[in-house]
Symmetry: C2
Subunit: 325 residues, 2 copies
């Protein structure tokens, strides 16, 4: 079994790689466990030093059709396509977002098609595909009217994966990730970066700025669950997907207020006092356009799983990233 990850030096790519290496196998299309022999990571950003002999790293940009072709020539059995320009950056730099978030997946899919090989192709989409006038609870058949360029680019990628799959060019699977919290490391240019900052920074004794109101609700998932669900997406048989390769993952609906209450329960009032309020209407508008309530019926039927509580999410972050219990 040869697995490849685009965006392999990113936060989620690294976590997914680690999980796959630890696990050591993936279920193949015949339903048997296939040992992981090679893990190819590609990213435009440089990689941390390689520590596992199964790992091969490629520094390169999948927006370049030539690089995409080289990557496809590896003929990985499974490709996890995670590489993306994050939401805030795609909004600020339209051309960059289009080139990476649309052009990148187009290059990859075309490279597979032209090479004539059919990988399982797992694409990380986003709750940001939803926006505009939405029902109180988003259903599996709710239309995607994104209100950000990032969301549009993800929605375009979804449709492409669906058609390339229908035509037998790839064996696609698209999972719409909720907002992933708590991300480790530094704040990034995702519009939702605050949702991690307000937990991560106080837990490490640092102040965090919250640009949105306490009432704002989010649909969230922990990095652990995200990795677990990405692997599950790859392992599901093609038949299970039917004529739609897209699924909205099951998340948790939490308000910023509830997130802070969890922080208080897990880490005490002192941590909470490190959160400073600094409203930014542009962030509130974009994040507020993403729905926070879903009926993820299809995902549940397919065996995808949500986190159990936000307290659990905070504790998982502490275990995984801060080495405290």
């Amino acid at each position: 079994m040869h697995i490849a990850i685009t965006g392999g030096s990113g936060f989620l790519g690294q976590k997914l790689a680690k999980a796959l290496l630890e696990r050591g196998y993936l279920v193949d299309p015949e339903g048997s466990d296939a040992m992981l022999e090679q893990l190819t990571l590609i990213d435009a950003v440089k990689f941390p030093r390689r520590t596992d002999r199964r790992v091969r790293t490629i520094t390169g940009d999948i927006c370049d059709p030539l690089i995409a072709r080289t990557f496809a020539s590896e003929r990985a059995d499974v490709i996890f396509h995670l590489a993306a320009v994050v939401s805030g950056e795609a909004e600020q730099n339209f051309e960059l977002g289009m080139r990476v978030n649309l052009g990148g997946i187009q290059n990859l899919l075309e490279a597979c098609r032209q090479a004539g090989y059919v990988p399982r192709f797992v694409f990380a989409s986003s709750v940001a595909v939803f926006g505009g006038e939405l029902p109180a609870v988003v259903q599996d058949n709710t239309a995607t009217i994104p209100q950000s360029s990032y969301g549009v680019q993800k929605a375009l990628g979804e449709l492409l994966v669906n058609d390339y799959s229908r035509r037998g060019f790839v064996n696609g699977r698209v999972v719409r990730l909720p907002t992933i919290v708590v991300r480790p490391g530094q704040p990034n240019r995702a519009t939702s970066t605050f949702a991690s900052s307000i937990i991560r920074e106080p837990l490490q004794g640092q102040t965090a700025l919250c640009p949105v109101s306490p009432e704002l609700r989010l649909w969230v998932m922990s990095p652990r669950r995200a990795v677990q669900n990405l692997i599950h997406a790859a392992e599901l048989p093609a038949d299970a997907w039917g004529d739609n390769r897209i699924v909205s993952l099951p998340g948790l609906t939490v308000s910023v207020q509830q997130m802070i209450e969890s922080l208080a329960r897990v880490a005490g009032a002192e941590a909470v006092s490190l959160i400073k309020w600094q409203p930014d209407p542009s962030i509130e508008n974009i994040v507020g356009s993403w729905p926070a309530r879903f009926n993820p019926e299809r995902a549940v039927t397919l065996g995808f799983e949500a986190d159990n509580s936000f307290d659990e999410i905070v504790r998982a972050f502490m275990e995984d990233e801060l080495q405290k219990q």
Copy 2:
């Protein structure tokens, strides 16, 4: 007022051009009638001889970024983007469909953005964006899970127009056309071409092949209404569209059986006897994946109009194309 039409030598492009020239004006963004001074038609296919001094024709392919830029440099106040590879052809020739139906609109939108001018941009989308597991009646917020490459390409174009509009690069309007019947001329490579043939050919004393079952239902609109609704889409103020520039037009739900009954009422049993049944499951599958029942609430609110009956559609064809009453 300068208006441009891509696909201007096509059946709908020619009808739209004729209607605009006869009308002689279009409502401008300030709500006043603006006289039509220039009508630019572009098409990869050659044009019939020009008969109106206001018309300028360009033979060229908007899939070529250079041609798209030249076209955009005309700075038409309103662009009707009708150029497309039809459904059957896009299914048969994947690369051609992607290049024209996705690449074409990308080139046009980019050319406008890079030229820094903001035309009203009317895009003819299609009911084919819908497919897969659908509710009994398609709502305005039903997800688009197309089951044909043509449908996917149209859905991609819709999302692009929405985002280019949200960002102020164009002033977009997308109308999802029902199956247009009765088309004049020869059968084309649209999967739904039979829906016109079974009326058009018998009315001219010729036999027609029907590849689908009499129970198959379609969501249809006459060319007259389509032209009227395209013009209405251009004239609506931007505010009326809100944060979604896409609308499913109101059509008529008719079964093939009901279409034939109309033909009998309007032209007699003799005409009907010219229809021969020759089932083609591949056509039945694709056309059957398009929904036939809609609740076009948004369109009706915005002032778009459906045909009154299929009898009226048959009579309109006879008036417009056969010069009989």
